[in-house]
């Protein structure tokens, strides 16, 4: 527990929140943020691909099914709940569904770091789960909006095929999938060439990125009231629910304790790179101070600070380990 709170990443995130609360002039240049994002996606992808190359297909296909199953169903009930219980309008409910169905590469990285710190092993191919789970939910979320509010039409509406193309060609999935393949192909000698940049300093770069994430999350805190208690409750309870589901499915799919926990983290995490970008274009009617606030200022902090250790305990229960 403490080990995860007192990790440099979490503390850097907290410092970022503090900085923005005390109105610090600390600001990451846009291009640094973009560069760090590119780095993280490449690093996750190439390492995952390298690990995947040494994994047997038999180990991978079941977890993959579980992952796809999760990211295709989560948006459905999320949308339903948002409409019914949350009283959100169609675009906002759909945007939230897209965000929570998709995944957060940074939360994922924090989960890997968490497990490595606790010396808990996990399947090396988990990054491919991350890659698989990113896009489907976003497409489902946007489709839900199209089906339930077909009002806007004609040239105004971005065709779904176009949205799909943009998502697949989008920065995050392109780098993630592209470098999964590269990591898969280059073998050990290739991996050794890039590891000094993409593996060794990874946790340090993640710390830097979380500082920036904290800066933005801190500013979003003031939007919390707009979202209201419901959003806060949702942003904490739903991730827990999804995590339990993910861990359980992970066990069914034959993942190790670590792997299942990480699948749970993926299920519980909400996207804030791919999904917001897609929603701004395809669902402009949705209000960022709902989906971004809940994803970045509620779910993300909860997951990396309390979620990780909590899900780990839950996993131990499910795996009957104490």
């Amino acid at each position: 527990m403490l080990t995860s709170i007192l990790s440099p990443m979490v503390l850097a995130f907290l410092l970022g929140i503090i900085a923005s609360r005390v109105k610090s002039d600390l600001k990451f240049p846009d291009s640094l943020y973009q560069s760090l994002t590119i780095y993280l996606l490449i690093a996750i992808g190439i390492k995952g691909g390298h690990k995947l190359s040494v994994a047997a297909f038999s180990e991978v296909w079941q977890p993959s099914l579980a992952a796809v199953g999760l990211c295709c169903t989560i948006p459905l009930w999320t949308y339903w709940l948002m409409r019914k219980a949350g009283k959100f309008d169609v675009p906002n409910a759909a945007a939230l569904a897209a965000h929570y169905g998709s995944v957060s590469a940074v939360t994922f990285s924090a989960a890997l770091a968490f497990h490595e710190t606790l010396k808990i092993t996990y399947e090396g191919f988990m990054p491919s789960m991350l890659a698989m789970m990113e896009i489907p939910a976003i497409l489902i979320g946007i489709s839900l909006a199209r089906i339930n509010a077909p009002s806007i039409t004609g040239e105004k509406q971005v065709p779904l095929k176009e949205v799909a193309r943009e998502l697949l060609a989008g920065k995050s999935s392109l780098l993630l999938i592209g470098f999964l393949v590269i990591g898969f192909l280059v073998g050990d000698s290739g991996w050794d060439q890039v590891a000094p940049l993409f593996d060794v300093p990874f946790k340090g770069v993640l710390t830097l990125f979380l500082l920036e994430a904290g800066l933005v999350a801190g500013r979003k805190l003031s939007d919390l009231k707009k979202g209201g208690l419901f959003l806060i409750g949702f942003g904490i309870l739903f991730p827990i629910l999804h995590a339990i589901l993910g861990i359980y499915l992970g066990q069914l799919a034959g993942l190790s304790l670590g792997g299942a926990t990480i699948l749970g983290v993926l299920a519980s995490s909400a996207s804030y790179i791919a999904a917001p970008a897609a929603c701004r274009v395809a669902l402009p009617e949705a209000n960022p101070s709902y989906y971004l606030t809940s994803a970045l200022a509620i779910t993300f902090p909860f997951n990396i600070m309390l979620g990780l250790p909590l899900y780990h305990e839950i996993a131990k229960l499910i795996y009957h380990i104490n």
Binding site: D30, Y33, Q34, I152, E155, K156, V216, Y272, P276, A277, R280, V281, P284, E285, P288, S289, L292, L296
Partner: protein, 98 residues
């Protein structure tokens, strides 16, 4: 005779490719773009997480100007964080822009 306007469009950065394509189709001979941040009815847009804006400036004839503005209004205005404005300018080589 042919008066030229400097038409400025400030919009959600993700729209840049399509807007740039469309204004050229509607008669603009060129454009100049730069990344900007800002605040408006859609709130503060000053970081990459929430998205920032693109500023697209194009020198066009009055007709193209009207045409582009009409198109922008139909396609984008009511849905996206976006503004547009224009004013007449003197240029050096008028033909460069027609």
């Amino acid at each position: 005779m042919n008066n030229l306007n400097l038409l400025t469009i400030i919009a959600e950065e993700a729209l840049a490719p399509s807007i740039e394509k469309e204004i050229v189709e509607m008669g603009a001979k060129g454009y100049t773009s730069s990344a900007v941040s800002g605040k408006g009815l859609h709130g503060l847009r000053d970081n990459q997480w929430e998205g920032e804006n693109i500023k697209i400036e194009t020198i066009v004839s009055e007709d193209s100007c009207k045409k582009i503005l009409g198109h922008l209004q139909r396609k984008y205005f009511e849905r996206y964080a976006m503004i547009a404005f224009y004013h007449p300018v003197q240029v050096v080589r008028t033909d460069h822009f027609l």
